[in-house]
Amino acid sequence: MASRHALVLLVFLPLAGFSLATAIFWNRLPEELPVAVVDADRSLLSRRLVRMLDAAKSMRVAGPYATSGEALDEVLAGRAYGIVSVPRHFERDVKRGAAPKVVLHYDALTMIPGSILKRDVRAVVGTLSAGVEIQARRALGETPDVAGARFEPVRSLRGALFNPGLDYRAFLLPAVLATLLSIFVLVAGVHALGVELRDGTAAEWLASGGSATRAVLGKLLPQALWFTAVGLAALAFPLRFLDVPLRGSASLVALATLLLVLGYQAVALLLVAGSANLRFASSAAAFYGGPAFAFTGITFPTFGMPLAAQLWGALLPLTHFLALLLAQAMRGAPASASLSPLGALLAFVLVLPPLALWRMRRLMSDPAYWGRT
């Protein structure tokens, strides 16, 4: 019975979790995001704009809708991520040089689709606007070359460093996999140690190891090797099959993965030693490991957080691991840039276990601490 539960925690759940995360990010980028169009002009020019929007790879035009109310209904029903409104007399006003405004309302409750729409609608309308300006310049007598040169005196050539395809998957999937790994290691470690106290078998456990340190290591080290192997396999899969890059040092990432696993085992040991109660230690592990992703700086960077959140993030091995992983995998940073996260990971492994073992020794030999739930 106990071994079946261990099998679930060590094998079944990690495989399920890693597969699920990989499946979620199987596709690279959202395409053909629906955008509702309200064309109050229905002229040649407005229809050209709608066709240009529809031709953009990232979006698909829904409608046109007769009123903005109808278009808003589409957004409220979750069928469109934004509304593009073309005003009445659009073509006439463009020809008169009255600069009629095209308005994009984008759904800011969904960050990725909203920002993709904002970027790509801007690009499409900008292209149309530049075309109109060039025509107007030619009407003033400029040659095509001169008009083409003068329409925007300073242009920016934009580039994305280290992730040229702007692949959200390359950035999110490895981070999610590592977060799941940290949760599985923590839960399995807390269980392996705490179950001996819960069931009152700590004396035999201690005897089988000879010393508290050896008994604890005997439980945790096999798990550490297993989780490091499974974690590396989970991280390697997207590298091999999903075009997720690893530009820096693979051995540095592997070493950091081992330290991540050992670091979370050290935390597990501390939680069990501190509480002597498997259920309470599991609850504490949930609080420590569950919301960790938010504090790592992956989605919202650390330097933008208030100090308290930065400090909590620094107390999570995951934060340091992800900083190292992204620096190595995406940026191909030099090893020297990854020394400080590596040192932080090492600190968890070196500092916590001696503290926890000191108390663990007493828990393992005093029946007063056993059987608590």
Partner: protein, 382 residues
């Protein structure tokens, strides 16, 4: 009916005497509400350090650097002698982007030829990328517009007309439902809904399956149904208070937009909580030990977030996963509740999700009854 009320009463008094379950069912609710949002308290990422490579060193190039530094999203934190040097600053994490001004920049502009500047942003972190690119590109756009308008007015065009001439089809972009585009406003409300689901599932798992023998000696299925219904009444009553606290108090405390009607929100929350409670009771027979609920369900929060559509569009999910994910209550409850609470949608707008949640509630009710009855039968045989 009497056994139903008995199951309700026993769940209430049993939970109150169960500190482990109370910690999850009550304590975690307020703890997470104030702990989880702390990283996002500042809402908008501003003043990101960027590196400048100014190979032109003219008044015009310096003007561009000043414009960039004045933009609220970025600040000029370093100067580099070459593009490679600037890229190294981004690579080691010192800068989030690069503004590269080539030699001859001012000369080109004066000659009337289009000049190009390089705007590079670190796409390792997406929020950094977006903010840096927006900040630098807008600074370049401001400089360019100024130059073009000055040229046109020099030719005798009135300024107003010149402005329209240089951008004959202007675009106005407006964010919906989250006017400041705050990150907390985007991420915290859906996570609060997920916390309701996860703590309820884990809390019910900690409480464990019911002892149907205490509900008299009627038919087994009837007793199981009475137990499932009575206990769910207790859980849902408690969680309606939690939902009111989250959507009514916490949302206002953090300044999230609240546009929806309370009635529409309640109409969605009810089937969401029913479905979650029935699912929890169905799963509870799988947990042989109390802590097993925490151990097995903890990892599901992160995938559930990415399946709920607000951070990763459902259209990007593989088809089978999009269908399978509908079995999780949060997959439809989160987008529907966000649109009702923050965008002011009516129940008619979310009728698809509403129907799905009632369907899940019905299916999970049957599963919970069968699971509890099956467990009782197995226990009696032993």
């Amino acid at each position: 009916m009497r056994s139903l009320f008995r199951a309700f009463r026993e769940e209430v008094s049993g939970s109150l005497r169960d500190p482990g379950a109370l910690l999850v069912l009550v304590g975690a609710i307020s703890l997470y509400a104030f702990f989880y949002p702390t990283p996002y308290r500042r809402e908008v990422l501003k003043e990101i350090p960027v590196a400048v490579v100014d190979l032109d060193r003219t008044p015009l190039s310096r003007q561009l650097v000043r414009l960039a530094d004045a933009h609220e999203l970025v600040r000029v934190a370093a100067r580099a002698g070459s593009l490679a040097e600037a890229e190294a600053l981004v690579r080691d994490g010192t800068a989030g982007g690069v503004l590269g001004i080539p030699e001859g920049f001012e000369r080109e502009v004066k000659r009337g030829a289009p000049a190009t500047v390089g705007v590079l942003a670190d796409a390792t972190y997406f929020l950094v990328y977006r903010q840096v690119l927006t900040g630098l590109a807008e600074s370049v756009g401001t400089l360019s517009a100024g130059i073009e308008i000055r040229r046109l007015t020099a030719q005798g065009m009135p300024e107003e007309k010149a402005r329209a001439f240089r951008d004959p089809v202007p675009l106005v972009s407006r964010p919906l439902f989250n006017p400041a585009e705050g990150y907390a406003t985007y991420v915290v409300p859906p996570v609060l809904i997920l916390i309701l689901q996860q703590t309820l599932l884990i809390g019910i798992g900690l409480r464990g399956p019911a002892d149907l023998g205490r509900l008299g000696s009627g038919p087994l299925l009837a007793r199981a149904a009475a137990s499932v219904t009575g206990r769910t009444l207790a859980f849902v009553a408690l969680y309606l208070v939690h939902a009111l606290f989250y959507f009514g108090v916490v949302a206002r405390l953090f300044g999230f937009p609240v546009r929806g009607s309370a009635a529409a929100a309640a109409g969605l929350v009810l089937p969401f909580l029913l479905a979650t409670s029935f699912l929890g009771l169905a799963l509870s027979v799988l947990f042989r030990r109390r802590e097993a609920a925490i151990q097995t369900l903890l990892f599901t929060s992160l995938p559930a977030i990415f399946l709920a559509g607000f951070s990763w569009p459902p259209s990007a999910l593989p088809g089978w996963l999009r269908v399978a994910s509908q079995a999780i209550p949060s997959t439809s409850a989160i987008p529907a509740l966000l649109r009702v609470n923050q965008a002011g949608a009516s129940l008619a707008h979310v009728r698809h999700e509403l129907a799905l949640l009632w369907g899940l509630a019905a299916v999970f009710f049957v599963l919970a009854v069968l699971a509890q009855a099956g467990r009782e039968r197995a226990a009696r045989r032993q």
